[in-house]
Assembly symmetry: C2
Homo-oligomer: 329 residues x 2
DNA sequence: TTGTATGCGTTATCAT
DNA sequence: ATGATAACGCATACAA
């Protein structure tokens, strides 16, 4: 005889309290009502353990207090830490986070953006790998690390400055012949500027710099081949290497080690991102540290803010150098 | 004069197609309608770029295709990998993931559960640190690593077996005097069984085992003190250490190294979890590997399944041993 | 088969 | 200040 226990609604509360629906709504939303009414409604809410139905509220008010966050995955610690930071910012502002993994797949990413729009999110924060992403103008969109053009705000670290800083640090530590290594997308996303900054820095410092840039799906072994080509008589031609990410730096260090080379004695390595072991332990290598918290809070402020129009279209946040044992102290 | 661009609704589509609301609904939901009607509706949908409003749908149908996932944070790689895996499982089944970080805070966790319930999620998957968590019976709830009792299903790795396996592996590799180390909660959650399994394994193998278990907020230095107490004449009393997590193992290895001890030559270390550098590179230490994918898919199946009643209340998934350089091969 | 009408739980606009 | 009522966008039972 018992119908499936359905949660109490405002109507139930109104009946229990002997007041009208509108009055309950006011109490729930903190609008002033008569003393006695307030008491009765509160009592009824307690008694029935009433909770507001956010779907009904969202439908009516066209506001869901939900933000979609999209990055390729949560395996890469840079992504997971970024998402963690964004989530904290959102939670502090009483927003919920709907998470979507894009898997570096442009088409999937596009589908997910549409899905999020259906989901009536109040905004989207996306670290995109789809340069042609289409996003409805109705929903605020903030991009991380990929600049789409004037009307879509983009937040990123100062990648160019980071590249320069890497060059300077290697030079400071005595490097005279360096290499830059990058794997991955040909896309003109922000991280490309790491190379530009590095090259520019090397030029300014008068240090020769060799680039090794591979395509998206090339195996890591091409870097080993490259390094062996520049390896003569037990000595590597380079005394410093700047890798586009800590992840790559980690792999390169493994290769160097397998070649019998010592880091940082024989060759110094600088990565980019600022990844720490287990998320909060020591840096995994000497690196250019991205201001993850600042990126996260900027994204959240921009996506929630109403000043999207006036927002700068490209927000560039300061980086810093972190010693992680793979450079000479 | 332009009102704020509001998304087209079914009504708009109906009008555009010259059919009724119900017909549009049927087309959208894949219910068969007349050929001509179907065409007209599809055309209108395309033209207006209509997307179903999931809030209206959710309100009406009491189903939101959204699952709440709660873990302490996304910094710890075990958590972020778990959430990544859960999200993949959910996405494959066309469910969305609402993510909440509990920060190891029992009261926050309780609030978030209520929040998720208001949010009308279709279920909750939670790695809880609140043994007294109250959850409404209306919402399917699956726990990871904490057993709440018969009516709440719990999924976890075979922690006890993992403890035993660690003992066996240390014994196999010649250890004759071992230690177990654990930091953290006094709570009787599943990971406690790692100790029990280890102790039991040591007893069965006739190996003396010393326990060092600290409280939640004790600094890591107590382990250093402990180790120094068992350090005489440049030699450690133990030749094997089992740490309750890879995270702790990492820290212990650092301490051992600072004491001038070699791992694994002087002392072998086994952790628990199976954390890899950068999420997908080499294991950070020799370890008992948790079946993260299996845990994730089990959780999702259980939370979505209707057979919650019949589900076993405690699902225990098999672990395996992984060599990570901190034991003798 | 297709159209119409009602209700999901809220909010907001009205009279009262 | 409070109560009745319409509307949000959709699903569905019912009537045509």
């Amino acid at each position: 005889m018992n119908q499936t226990k359905t949660s109490p609604t405002m109507k139930d509360v109104a009946q229990e309290a002997g007041v009208s629906l509108g009055t309950v709504s006011k109490v729930v939303n903190g609008i002033s009502v008569g003393e006695e009414y307030y008491r009765r409604v509160q009592a009824a809410i307690e008694k029935l353990d009433y909770r507001i139905n956010s779907y009904a509220k969202g439908l009516k008010s066209n506001k869901t207090f939900t933000i979609a966050v999209m990055v390729p995955n949560l395996i890469n610690p840079f992504f997971s830490q970024l998402v963690d930071a964004i989530n904290r910012e959102l939670a502090a502002k009483n927003y919920r986070m709907l998470f979507y993994a894009t898997d570096y797949d442009p088409k999937l990413e596009q589908r997910l953006v549409q899905l999020a729009e259906q989901q009536k999110v109040d905004g989207i924060i996306c670290l995109s790998y789809n340069p042609e992403l289409k996003v409805s103008e109705g929903v605020p969109f903030v991009s991380i690390d990929r600049y789409f053009g004037g009307n879509i705000p983009c937040v990123s670290a100062d990648n160019y400055g980071g590249g320069r800083l890497a060059a300077e640090k290697l030079a400071e530590n005595g490097c005279r012949n360096v290499a830059f290594m990058r794997v991955g997308s040909h896309l003109t996303n922000e991280p490309n500027k790491r190379k530009d900054g590095f090259v520019s820095g090397c030029e300014a410092l008068g240090i020769p710099c060799t680039l090794k840039i591979t395509g998206d799906d090339t195996p890591i072994s091409v870097f080993e081949d490259f390094l062996r080509e520049h390896f003569r008589d037990g000595k590597l031609e380079f005394d410093g290497i700047f890798c586009v990410t800590d992840y790559l730096a980690h792999q390169i260090i493994g290769i160097l080690s397998s070649m019998g080379l010592q880091v940082p004695e024989d060759v110094q390595v600088i990565g980019f991102d600022g990844i720490r072991a287990f998320g909060d332990q020591e840096l995994t290598c000497s690196t250019i540290i991205q201001p993850i918290e600042a990126i996260a809070s900027s994204c959240v402020e921009m996506v929630l803010g109403t000043q999207l129009i006036k927002a700068p279209s490209l927000l560039c946040l300061p980086i810093s150098y972190g010693f992680g044992g793979t450079t000479k102290a």
